[in-house]
């Protein structure tokens, strides 16, 4: 079965700083999804990557899938308190109906 390892597990950054979260898969990724979970709430879809080398941006968040399609990174520029939460990467393993999620990265943004 596919396993996704995220690093770091937790991160505390000062407001305005940049940060990067990594997601490494044990198998080739067919589709890689990034979700954000605010504390005590459900998951919110951020973006999906499918092609090796693909990069997508949404506001100040950029995600990239490496050429070999086994690792993805999520980069936040000029972090804000609203970015705080748990970031989860997910992979579909070729089947859209079944997502395997990573171990999660807890982000705190201090003032």
């Amino acid at each position: 079965s596919q396993e996704l390892e995220q690093s770091p597990q937790s991160l505390i950054v000062q407001e305005g700083k940049n940060l990067t979260i990594n997601c490494t898969s044990s198998k080739t990724l067919y589709g890689l999804y990034w979700y954000k979970q605010k504390y005590g709430e459900g998951l919110i879809f951020l973006m999906m990557l499918q092609k090796g080398g693909e990069e997508k941006s949404h506001e100040k968040i950029t995600a990239k899938l490496d050429e070999k399609k086994q690792q993805s990174s999520l980069h936040i520029t000029a972090s804000q308190p609203s970015h705080a939460g748990i970031y989860l990467c997910g992979a579909d393993g070729g089947t859209a109906s079944k997502l395997t999620f990573g171990t999660g990265t807890r982000l705190q943004v201090t003032l």
Partner: protein
């Protein structure tokens, strides 16, 4: 407008009891899911239904039984609750074959 809703939001119960969690989506999606998030925040799929038919059933104890009365609803019934069932349970939905899943707010189950 709430896209995916779950009830209740919190559930505290004793070991051995039977409880249900309800999920409804008003997005017109064909596929619905149940996920379990443990204390370490690890999120794992339990079940997936497509047009009221079970398509994914991960290694979940038989005490857990999903029921889909129609496309918009997927309920989760748990028999003989155990301490290890304490977790946050998330319902989600998506269009058939689509990758983007919409999640409900979660139900925090505490078994004492």
């Amino acid at each position: 407008d709430t896209a995916v809703s779950q009830t209740p939001k919190y559930l505290v119960t004793q070991m051995g009891n039977d409880k249900s969690i309800k999920c409804e989506q008003n997005l017109g999606h064909d596929t619905m899911y149940w996920y379990k998030q443990d204390s370490k925040k690890f999120l794992k799929i339990m079940f997936s239904y497509n047009n009221k038919e079970l398509i994914i059933n991960e290694t979940v104890p038989n005490r857990f039984s999903p029921k889909s009365p129609d496309k918009a609803h997927l309920n989760l019934h748990i028999n003989s609750l155990e301490l290890g069932d304490s977790a946050v349970y998330f319902c989600a939905s998506s269009r058939q074959g689509a990758y983007e899943q919409y999640f409900g707010p979660g139900t925090r189950l505490t078994v004492t």
